[in-house]
Symmetry: C2
Subunit: 199 residues, 2 copies
């Protein structure tokens, strides 16, 4: 035993037990701290698949139950696929949507419309104890606009114009975005897999 | 699969996944909801051992890690051991310390000092996957006073005078109480067991 869960929400008792078990080189966690153990699972992978699996497999290994994790990002062809797995922290660890978009638009300065192709990618990983991890990948193709437009969504939505639309993702209504989004496409694959499992 | 953990703290994503998995009769939990699954583990046992084990074993079975749970209460001899496992809710589900003490004092009205003997009991249960549950029981003997006294502690502390003391538990300083308490006694047994395990 090197870790033990203390089944209490009483802060005083928990503190006492933590100090007690520390003497035995054991880490005691309270029930409301179960998630804190996973805060330090870092996204160190070089692909969306690796990052999603890293998280899902770590948590499933601990909890011994199925776990779904996702990783997603934006791939811009003119930037050789960047920001990719670094999408959330492209302009630094502060993870600012505005700073990230500014950086991308600056790097694309002078690049003509026809060469501003890009795609949002989402990978869902489902890890089950004792089984191979299942991956579902979804994507939505589009182009990077010259300036941010729209107020909905988050991330790079204001500079991404999906194929067949004259609006950016951030100009689409949430329900409309959700119908075409990369996550939606990945969930279609997940759905198919779940249906096969159920057979 | 009938349950799945969604490794996200994003409320919007979580809501979407919950609705999605519901179609497959699966319950999806977010990382910060891991403890909520155990809220409904009811203390339906008739002994402290049963209640502590029920909680520890349920959670250990789910998490596959060692879990410690405790159950404790007050046994009054003149009341045939009551309130016992019902100590926290003796006067009703509202779990009022004051109402519980009032009920006990009323039931003991007219009972002479010599017959007001009682004890606080604490049982710790440690459940480890694939192993027998370990129990540590501690108790502190005393008498029930005529009126509540003291401001420290909680529960029945103001009406319980431990053996060898002229004060109630609630009149003792916390550090002093912790040295003689039923939980402390149970932890002495737990400590002995841990030392044996480490050999």
């Amino acid at each position: 035993m090197n870790k033990i869960i203390i089944a209490t929400k009483n802060a005083g008792k928990l503190k006492e037990f933590k100090a007690f078990f520390e003497q035995y080189d054991m880490t005691a966690y309270g029930l409301d701290e179960l998630d804190k153990q996973f805060d330090d699972v870092e996204e160190t992978g070089t692909t969306f698949e690796e990052n999603a699996a890293l998280k899902a497999e770590t948590i499933a290994g601990f909890l011994q139950v199925p776990v779904l994790a996702d990783d997603s990002g934006l791939e811009i062809d003119a930037l050789e696929g960047r920001p990719g797995v670094y999408s959330a922290r492209y302009a630094g660890e502060a993870k600012s949507d505005q700073a990230n978009m500014d950086k991308v638009l600056e790097e694309l300065q002078g690049v003509p419309a026809a060469e501003r192709t890009a795609r949002f990618v989402c990978v869902l990983a489902v890890s089950q104890p004792g089984k191979e991890t299942f991956y579902a990948r979804g994507h939505v193709e589009g182009v990077i606009t010259e300036v941010p437009q729209g107020e909905h969504g988050f991330g790079y939505d204001p500079v991404f114009q999906p194929e067949g639309y004259e609006k950016t993702m951030a100009q689409l209504e949430p329900a409309e975005k959700n119908q075409i989004s990369h996550r939606k496409q990945a969930m279609v694959h997940l759905e198919k897999w779940l249906n096969e499992q159920a057979k």
